[in-house]
């Protein structure tokens, strides 16, 4: 530090008489183009960034070829069947479907959680099994939402099963469309 000061003192920095004061150069740089470019890049990266990286949802499916006696039998009292149809409609019934369809109820994705919670609270854990039956008009989102609901409500036993014709007919009646024999559907 001292050296520098000395050096400065000994050098020609002292303005003697006749030495013209050097014109101070402006130290500022015009940064506008740099800022322009910077923001252009920011915009680019904002648009290309995927902050929400996808998540993996583990799913295990049973082996259909297992023999009948090996398959898990659901106790009727602990069964809760959820039927999914088009337009995010949810229908459900508890236990077995009455032949007159009296316990067949219509619901939606918000209310079904409360129904499932109520069922979960009133049923022994080992008996509770939720059966998810999407019909051919239900979409993938509904199915995944329902599987997700099982995670949210911590229901351990659930199954995705094909819908029965009678149940599908009930949905059609409820939806107001004429109960066409669903031969066109798969």
């Amino acid at each position: 530090m001292a050296e520098i000061a000395q050096d400065g003192g000994g050098g020609g920095h002292k303005k003697g008489p006749g030495v013209k004061k050097q014109a101070r150069k402006e130290a500022r740089v015009d940064m506008t183009p740099m800022v322009d470019l910077g923001f252009l890049l920011i915009t680019f990266f904002i648009f290309t960034t995927t902050i929400n990286s996808p998540k993996a949802f583990k799913l295990n499916v049973p082996d259909d070829s297992a023999k009948d006696e090996e398959q898990t039998q659901a106790k009727a009292s602990g069964a809760f069947t959820v039927l999914l149809s088009k337009g995010n409609h949810v229908y459900y019934y508890e236990g077995q479907l009455q032949s007159d369809g009296s316990n067949f109820k219509s619901s939606n994705f918000k209310e079904i959680r409360n129904e499932l919670l109520r069922k979960k609270a009133s049923t022994a854990e080992k008996d509770l099994v939720v059966i998810i039956k999407p019909n051919e008009e239900a979409n993938y989102k509904n199915v995944v939402d329902m599987l997700d609901e099982m995670q949210i409500l911590e229901i351990k036993r659930y199954a995705v099963v094909d819908i029965a014709e009678g149940e599908n007919a009930l949905i059609r009646v409820t939806e107001g469309s004429s109960p066409t024999p669903a031969a066109g559907g798969k």
């Binding site: 910077g38 960034t49 996808p54 993996a56 499916v61 082996d63």
Partner: protein, 226 residues
């Protein structure tokens, strides 16, 4: 008069240093946070779930279906994925008598990272496409709707035959919100038929709703961990 002039001549220069500092900080953040999406030929809108597991990107076999029910398969672009794609193409060509040339098989490997969705019968002509043609080509999807002609089954069977029954570490299902259930069911049927009973669905993250059993448990565990 002179006073007025002085005011008018005031410099309009604004010190932008701080501004530049902040903007470059943001720029750096986005540059580091960006992970480029691998090129996909299909546009898929995933459903949401509360699951928080990361999606693996090594040794992946992925089946995708878009909202029109077009089914695609893809392999990850790493060594394991390429090797499996190669084996699939070789075995499938042999099983179905397609007579694929080595160039076509290498094309299969190349296209497989973006997605392959053509019926087995069209595979040979599809693999003759150039890169640019591949991008522009609208693939019809692998037919799955007919249970007797579920060709996804053929692809998966070829894959597992090629690897000698060794399953890819990550079997993923990448489905679109709007796909109707039968497509999902048929894809599942092809998986089950080949003995794949455990796989992962690709979903977008969603918060756990408050007050639900999972929320309570996670909160408890969070409290214990601390």
């Amino acid at each position: 008069m002179s006073k007025l002039n002085k005011i008018a001549r005031k410099s309009t220069w604004v010190d932008m240093t701080a501004f530049v500092d902040v903007s470059f900080l943001i720029l750096t953040f986005f540059m580091l946070a960006t992970k480029f999406k691998p090129p996909e030929v299909v546009n898929i809108d995933n459903p949401k779930s509360v699951s928080s597991d990361k999606v693996e990107d090594k040794d992946v076999f992925k089946v995708s279906f878009d909202k029109n029910g077009r089914v695609f398969i893809s392999f990850s672009a790493d060594k394991d994925g390429r090797e499996k794609a190669q084996l699939t193409a070789e075995v499938l060509g042999r099983q179905k008598g397609l007579g694929l040339t080595p160039a076509e098989i290498s094309n299969f490997v190349k296209f497989s990272s973006g997605g392959i969705g053509v019926p087995v019968t069209q595979l040979k002509s599809f693999l003759a496409l150039s890169d640019a043609e591949y991008k522009a080509f609208k693939q019809p999807g692998i037919p799955v709707s007919d249970t007797l002609n579920n060709q996804l089954n053929d692809y998966i069977n070829a894959l597992l035959t090629g690897t000698g029954g060794r399953k890819p570490a990550n079997v993923m299902l990448n489905g679109d919100n709007g796909t109707t259930y039968p497509y999902f069911k048929n894809v599942l049927a092809a998986f089950k038929k080949n003995g794949i009973f455990s796989f992962k669905l690709i979903t977008a993250m969603e918060g756990v709703p408050t007050g639900t059993p999972l929320y309570k448990r996670q909160k408890e565990q969070g409290g214990q961990a601390k």
